[in-house]
Symmetry: C2
Subunit: 148 residues, 2 copies
């Protein structure tokens, strides 16, 4: 797949990622390392909570979203994350769910401090196999410009 | 350590976490799974980039921040993440760096839809062993109220 540069994007462009299925084992393994809370760690305990079953950490969803984004956009030398706003977890993400990310180009501008780069603002929507929205965010990143 | 409830917090309260040191191997392992970009994957390749050395994924920083937060605040039945704003990565996080999180209670209110819970807004600042700010964010979560 060819590498993408800043000049290859325009506002309103949309990119649909591949898919990513997550097992109960992966959800528990992520939670043990990074988000050791009862509803992420143990299906039996999770049944006693408001979720009624095991759910993945929101940070696991965010990390999988990054993977799907990186593979889809494939920026030359990578996209350097600057920040994220309006990150929202709207529906629980459970074992066996299959995630997919749609990325829309919200805004493009040149970087004042890094002339080789542009700044891209992305709107990312992560859905499950039933089309329910699991997560939304707006993210900004430095992306390489084409050399003259 | 005793469990914390909504009523145990007041605006302006601050909590300092323990520390978390990350190896080159852990940075590469996280990046292979979730953020496979050249400057996160391979120290030799990273030397050719603007960072001059291997750096961790911002999502790895965010995940470690969650772990340090969860262990420090220790909410009864956990804190249910609703969303995050103003997530910013201000300095690179490199192999051997030691992270620590300071959490400030920004705002507290009762939940209208979930009477057993309150909504807490946290301001979290993640620093390294040199006191440099690696990441900042504002996060909202549902936290259990004490039963009468």
């Amino acid at each position: 797949m060819s590498e993408r540069y800043f000049e290859d994007l325009k506002p309103g462009d949309r990119f649909k990622s591949g898919t990513y299925e997550v097992s109960e084992e992966q959800i528990i393994s992520f939670a043990r390392k990074f988000d050791p809370q009862p509803f992420h760690l143990d299906a039996a305990v999770a049944r006693q909570t408001m979720f009624k079953e095991l759910i993945a950490s929101g940070w696991h969803t965010a990390a999988i979203t990054m993977r799907l984004f990186v593979q889809t956009l494939n920026f030359a030398e990578g996209a350097i994350g600057l920040g994220v706003d309006e990150l929202r977890w709207l529906n629980a993400f459970k074992p066996g769910d299959v995630l997919q990310v749609e990325t829309e180009i919200a805004d493009l501008r040149l970087s004042r401090s890094k002339p080789a780069h542009g700044i891209v603002r992305f709107r990312k929507v992560t859905t499950n196999q039933r089309g329910e929205i699991v997560q939304t965010m707006t993210a900004s990143a430095l992306v390489l410009r084409r050399r003259e």
